[in-house]
Symmetry: C2
Subunit: 216 residues, 2 copies
DNA sequence: CGCATTGTTGAGAGCTGTCAAACAGCGTGG
DNA sequence: CCACGCTGTTTGACAGCTCTCAACAATGCG
């Protein structure tokens, strides 16, 4: 196979933060795996209202098998590195490799659960709980050492891949409200902040408490 | 194959309104197709807050392939009629019949899109728009003659499969707010109501307008 | 017909949104 | 090196929407 042909089948793509990756209308002709960075999926209304409906982290797919694109925009939240597979070859690979098909199915079901969990956040949580929930989510995904269970006394630190505007768009809030809730968490010692993006959480369990009610 | 063996592989199940169908914890051992009625998927928090995260209509699946159940409760919103397939035989059928697998995949992707669309409703719409959006959704699913496109001047009538409480749980509102918004739509002639459950919409396009901003 | 359940309506409080201004970070250019 | 302006964040004051609490009406059932 020639280099040119190979490049058509699989290629690398870098998208700087803020870049549009999928326009939600036309089939890009490829399906990608995120190598690094965070991708946001969002819906925009005619009057300008915006809602982020999903965040994709490294190892997850961007794009959709079957030619029909998902009806949402995909944008790079941070600088993103993608590995893109030509749609046709991806479909072929799925047909021929049952395991790949199962991986795609498994990830889709996982995304569905995550979306529904977030529906609870959007529909039932207070602004304070929403912000704590988002920070907790980020801690789970971005912690240097994966500490999936919020263990007491475990301090972690990470850099937010989202601006205040993006946090608000994911939480169904305004940037002012997000900022106030962050300040409040800071004032109560639940988190501390360096330069608006670096968050350190002395006690994940305490943050988890704040994400469910208002204890501690 | 004996009747008993067949019954283990596929059987009918009726669930009266309000009945718990899946507890969100243990694998029920089957996957079902809804023959009639509406099933709600919901998440409950320890403090009693409830959020409906999905509605399933006839033709859609309830349950999940792969043994791992979805982490949400499934309840009958109206009287429900299910056709249940033993999980093991369903898995076998998926392995042997590519088409079935594709149908499941297609439905899962569809559910994912619907969930994300609803995230926008929950995060960005006003109470008035939320209620109008729900009525519009019901009109599309329950209209006697499927009028997928909200065409002007088309009057339709349907019976709500949800109580005010359930509407509130799906919309992230309280029952009082739902009731007030319904009254308001009534007062503006967008809908009319008979007996709290039967809704008639003289003009779907007008309802669609109310679901997006507050015109008309 | 009486009762329980469900839905409606009202009054007031509280949370979040809106509008506005101050502040911080950061690259540019003097 | 510092002044400047741009962008993003924080904070404040206030209004408005939705929630809470309460009473009442309507519906359904024994």
């Amino acid at each position: 196979m020639s280099d040119a042909a190979l490049t058509r089948l699989v290629h690398r793509r870098r998208a700087p933060a803020g870049n549009l990756i999928l326009d939600g209308e036309q089939d890009p002709g490829w399906i990608a795996v995120i190598l690094s960075g965070v991708v946001k999926l969002l819906k925009t209304a005619a009057d300008g209202r915006r809602q982020i409906v999903g965040l994709q982290f490294p190892g997850q797919f961007v794009g959709r098998p079957g030619g029909k694109p998902s009806p949402f925009l995909a944008e790079a939240a941070s600088d993103v590195d993608l590995c893109c597979f030509a749609g046709s070859s991806f479909e072929t690979a799925m047909r021929e490799n049952r395991d790949l098909e199962h991986v795609v199915m498994h990830q889709t079901l996982e995304e569905l659960d995550v979306a529904r969990e977030w529906m609870f956040v959007l529909g039932r949580k207070t602004a304070q709980e929403k912000v704590a929930s988002l920070l907790l989510l980020m801690a789970h995904h971005l912690a240097p050492e994966p500490a999936d269970v919020p263990s007491a006394g475990k301090a972690i630190e990470f850099e937010l891949p989202l601006s205040r505007t993006e946090m608000a768009e994911y939480l169904g809030l305004t940037i002012e409200t997000v900022s106030r809730q962050i300040s409040n968490l800071k004032a109560h010692g639940v988190i501390s902040i360096r330069g608006a993006r670096v968050v350190s959480v002395p006690d994940l369990a305490a943050l988890a408490d704040w994400s469910e009610n208002n204890k501690s």
